[in-house]
Symmetry: C2
C-alpha cells in the first residue's frame, strides 16, 4: 500500500470508532439506564484504547508525515492532511504518561467541582483546580510553537487563528461601548403580563417545538429531536446530526434552546456531504459554530418579524394561557434584559459581558498575574465592574461553570466571539437577502441557503478567519455586534445609548 | 501472557465491539434518522471486520484450544470456554469465502422477500429462497458431527439439545390433542362489546404501559421502554436490557407486546450480574427465552386473576371507553380465539399450530422430501389440515414471515417449544408458590423471584435441557401445555374437549 492508501485505510477505522463512541455518548446523555454506567465505562475504555492504537499506529503516522510533504495531493486532501498532522503533532509533543495522568485527574475533577458547587465550597474545589491549571500550564509548554505562546496555545485549540491580542481588541470594544449601555439598559423597569410567569404545559410545548423544526427546516431525515437534562447538539456526519431540548415551566426556555441547537445542527447538516467520510465534516471551530446557533436563536428568533409570523401559532397552542398576552408584550418578553449572575441564563445584551469576566481571569491565570486561590475575589470584582452586580455566593459566582473542571481553558471566549461573528454575517447576508422579509414570509430556508453557500458547505475546509473574510468581505469586526445590540435594545427599551 | 490472560484480553475486546454493535442496532431500530443508512452501514462494515479479526486472531484461537483441555479451570470458566469453543469450531468448519458469499446473499434476500410479499409474488422470491436453502444445506454439511446430522444441525443452533425426534414427539402430541380441540373451539361464536373495537388513544395507552412496568417490576434502572415498528427486546448485559412496544388502535396489542417483551427482559436482567463481562450473560436459548415471554404474556397476563387486579386501573385510564365493558367481557376479549392466517396475530390456543406448519415444511426441505417451488401448495395444505383454513394469498400465507429470507431455518419450532416449557415451569412453580394469589395481590415479584432462582440467574451456565430438569424435576413434557390450554379454553368457551 502506498501512503495514501494506508492513510485512507486508517481513516475508515478511525471513523468507525468515532461513530461508535459518538453513539454511546448520545445514548448516555439521552436514555441509557442508570445502572449501566460501570458496564458502559468499561466498554468505552476498551474502545478508546483501540481507537488510540489506530491513531498512533506507526504506519499511519509515517503515512501522514509523508503525505504532508506531498504537493501533488488535491486540495481537500491536502487540507485534511494538514488538520490531522496538526492533531498528530500535538499528540506527539505530550508525553503519554503525563497525558494519561491529566485525563485521570480530569475524570475526577468534574465530580469534585459538582460537589463543591452544591456545597458552595470553593476551598473544596481549589486543590483540584490548582492541579488542573498546573497540568494545563505544563501542556501549554509542550505545545508552544514559534508563533503560539502561553494562553494563545489554548485559545488556538478552540478558535484557530484567534490570539490574546485579537480577543483583547474585541473585548476592549465591548468594555468601551457595551458595558455602559448595558448598565443603563438594566435600569429600565420592564413589566410583563402575569400569565407569562405561570408554568406552561410540557406536551403543548413539545407540539410547538415540533412545529419549529419545520419553520427552520431542520432536516428530520438527517436528525433527531429528543430530550435531555441540558440541551445539546451531537453530530457525527451531515446525515446524522441530532439535537436535544429540555422542557421547563418557562415558555421561553425550550423554544430558544431548540432553536439554538437547530442553528448548530443546520450548520453540520449542510456541510458538503462528500466530506462525511473525511476529516472535513462538521464545523470548523467553536466560534463559527456559536455564530450559527446565536444567529438563529437571537437575530432570527428574537426578532419582531419572527413573532409577527409565528405568535399566532403559539397562541393557538396555548389558547387560554396567551389569550391576554399581546404580540408586543411577547416580543418584549423574549428580549427581557436582566442583570444576573448566571451566564447560561443571561440575556442577549449582557451575555458577552459574562464571557469577558472569564476571559480576563483565564488570561491572568496563564500569564501568572492571578493565582487560583484569588479567583473568587477577582471574579466578584469583575462582575461588579462589567455588570454592576456582585454574586452573593461562589455557587452563583466562580463555581457556576463546569468548564474549568474539564480543563477547558480558552473555550469561553468563543461564545462571545460567535455572537459577534453572527452580527457580522447578518450584516453581510442582508446585502443579498431581505432577511426580515424572509422571516415574515416564513422562508427561513432562504437564510439557510445563504449560510450553506457562504459558511456551512465548507465544513473544515477553510480556517475560521478565511471563512469570515470570504463570507463578509472583511476581517472580523466587533462593531457590527455592538451596533446591532445597541440599536435593538434602544428600540425595545426606548432609551438612547 | 498465559492462555487464560490471552483469552480474557480478547474477551474484553469482543465485548466492547459487541456493545458498540448492539447499540448501533438498537439506535437503528428505534430512532436513527432515515438518511443515515449508508453512512451507518459503512461504519458497521468496518466494526464487524474489526470484531471478526479479534474473534479469529490466532493467539485467541490457540488460547481457547488450550483452555478447552485444561481441567483445572473453575466451573463457570470451563463452561464459558466450552461455549466459545463450540462457536469457534463452527467458524473453523466453514470456509471463509463461502461464509461471506452467504452473508452477502442474506443481506439482499431480506429486501427481495419484502418486495415479493408486498406484491404477493412467490415466484419473485423463489430463486433467492432456493439459493438460501442451497447455501444452508452446504453449511449443514460443513457443520455436521457424529451426533448431529441434517436439519438437526440447524435445530441445535437455536435450541441446543433438541433434535428432530424430540420435536416430532412434541408436535405429535399437539397434532393428536390440540388440533381437534382448536378446531371445535373455533366454532364457538364469541361476541364482544362494540366499545372494544374502537381505536384507543395512544397517550393513554402509554400511561397504562408505564404502569405495567411497575406491576411486573421491570427494572427501569437497567432498562428502557421505547417505541419501534415491531416490538422487541435488546439486551447487552443484565444492567442494560431494553424493550420496545408499538401502539396500535387495538387496546390489546401494546399491552401484551409490552408484557411479552418484559418477560424476555426480566430474564436477562435477572441473570447473575457477575456474568455481565463474560460469555455466560444473556439467555441460554430461544426456547427458554420464549418460555419466559409467554409465561408472562399468556399465563400471567391473560389470566382472570390478573385482570381482577388491574382492570380497574385500565378502566380508570379509559374512563369513557371502558365504562360499559365488564371485567368478564374484557377477560374473554384478551383470550379471543380466532382461526386466522397470520402467525404473529394468532391467539394463545392456536399459536403453536402455526409453528407446526413451518416445522413440517423445514423438516421436509432438509430431508429432501420437499422442493422450494412446492412451498405454497404444501403450506396451504398444512394450514387446512391443522387450522382448517386456507390462506387466500401467499402474502398472508407462505410469504408472511421474514425468517427464511434471513436463513433462519430451525428457529420457528423454538416458539412453540417455549410456550410448552412455560406451562411446565408454571406447573412446577405452583408447587412452591400460590401463583394466582401472587397475581391477585399484585406480587408478581414473587414469580420473578422463583424464576430468578430456578431459571434466570443461570444465564448460559446450564444447557436448556438441564435447566428444565433442574427447575421442574423432569424432562420436557408437552402434556402440561396441552392440558393447560384445554382446561383454560374449556372454561373460557364453555365447551368440553
Amino acid at each position: 500500500m502506498n501512503h495514501l492508501e494506508t492513510y485512507l485505510a486508517f481513516r475508515k477505522k478511525k471513523q468507525a470508532y468515532q461513530y461508535a463512541m459518538w453513539l454511546i455518548s448520545w445514548d448516555q446523555e439521552t436514555e441509557a439506564p442508570k445502572n449501566a454506567i460501570d458496564y458502559r465505562s468499561q466498554q468505552i475504555e476498551v474502545l478508546s484504547t483501540l481507537a488510540y492504537e489506530v491513531e498512533t499506529d506507526l504506519s499511519r503516522i509515517e503515512a501522514i508525515d509523508a503525505l504532508s510533504q506531498d504537493q501533488s495531493l488535491e486540495d481537500t486532501l491536502k487540507r485534511e492532511i494538514y488538520l490531522v498532522k496538526k492533531e498528530l503533532d500535538n499528540i506527539r509533543k505530550i508525553p503519554k504518561k503525563e497525558f494519561i495522568e491529566f485525563q485521570v485527574l480530569l475524570s475526577q475533577a468534574g465530580q469534585i467541582w459538582a460537589e463543591a458547587r452544591k456545597n458552595d465550597d470553593f476551598e473544596g474545589f481549589l486543590p483540584t483546580l490548582e492541579k488542573v491549571i498546573g497540568f494545563q500550564k505544563t501542556m501549554v509548554k509542550y505545545l508552544e510553537t514559534d508563533t503560539l505562546k502561553g494562553y494563545d496555545v489554548l485559545l488556538d485549540m478552540y478558535e484557530p487563528g484567534m490570539k490574546t491580542k485579537d480577543y483583547d481588541q474585541f473585548f476592549d470594544t465591548l468594555r468601551e461601548k457595551l458595558v455602559p449601555f448595558a448598565k443603563s439598559a438594566a435600569k429600565v423597569k420592564q413589566t410583563f403580563p402575569r400569565a407569562l410567569k405561570k408554568p406552561f404545559d410540557t406536551e403543548k410545548q413539545k407540539a410547538f417545538n415540533q412545529y419549529l423544526t419545520g419553520v427552520f427546516n431542520y432536516n428530520m431525515d438527517q436528525g433527531v429531536l429528543k430530550e435531555s437534562a441540558h440541551p445539546f447538539t451531537s453530530g457525527v456526519a451531515s446525515v446524522d446530526t441530532r439535537i436535544t431540548t429540555a422542557y421547563k415551566p418557562d415558555l421561553r426556555s425550550a423554544i430558544f434552546s431548540t432553536i439554538h441547537e437547530m442553528g448548530h445542527a443546520i450548520y453540520e447538516q449542510q456541510v458538503n456531504p462528500l466530506y462525511d467520510e473525511t476529516e472535513l465534516k462538521g464545523g470548523i471551530s467553536m466560534g463559527i459554530h456559536e455564530s450559527q446557533s446565536r444567529l438563529y436563536e437571537n437575530m432570527i428568533a428574537r426578532s419582531a418579524s419572527f413573532w409577527m409570523t409565528h405568535y399566532e401559532k403559539l397562541q393557538d397552542t396555548f389558547k387560554k394561557e396567551l389569550k391576554q398576552v399581546s404580540l408586543d408584550d411577547f416580543i418584549r418578553y423574549v428580549n427581557e434584559v436582566k442583570l444576573d449572575f448566571i451566564r447560561v441564563e443571561a440575556d442577549e445584551l449582557t451575555y458577552s459581558l459574562h464571557i469577558m469576566v472569564r476571559y480576563d481571569i483565564e488570561k491572568q491565570l496563564f500569564n501568572g498575574k492571578l493565582k487560583a486561590k484569588d479567583l473568587p475575589k477577582t471574579w466578584n470584582k469583575l462582575y461588579k465592574s462589567y455588570l454592576g452586580i456582585k454574586p452573593k455566593t461562589d455557587q452563583v459566582g466562580v463555581l457556576q461553570d463546569i468548564h474549568w473542571s474539564l480543563g477547558s481553558f480558552g473555550y469561553f471566549p468563543t461564545y462571545a466571539l460567535g455572537s459577534a461573528i453572527s452580527a457580522q454575517l447578518y450584516h453581510a447576508m442582508s446585502k443579498s437577502i431581505d432577511i426580515d422579509q424572509a422571516i415574515r414570509q416564513n422562508e427561513i430556508v432562504k437564510i439557510n441557503e445563504w449560510l450553506k453557500t457562504n459558511i456551512h458547505q465548507y465544513g473544515k475546509l477553510l480556517e475560521p478567519k478565511d471563512l469570515v473574510f470570504k463570507a463578509t468581505g472583511e476581517a472580523f469586526n466587533p462593531n457590527y455586534y455592538v451596533d446591532y445590540l445597541i440599536k435593538k435594545y434602544e428600540h425595545i427599551l426606548g432609551i438612547k445609548a
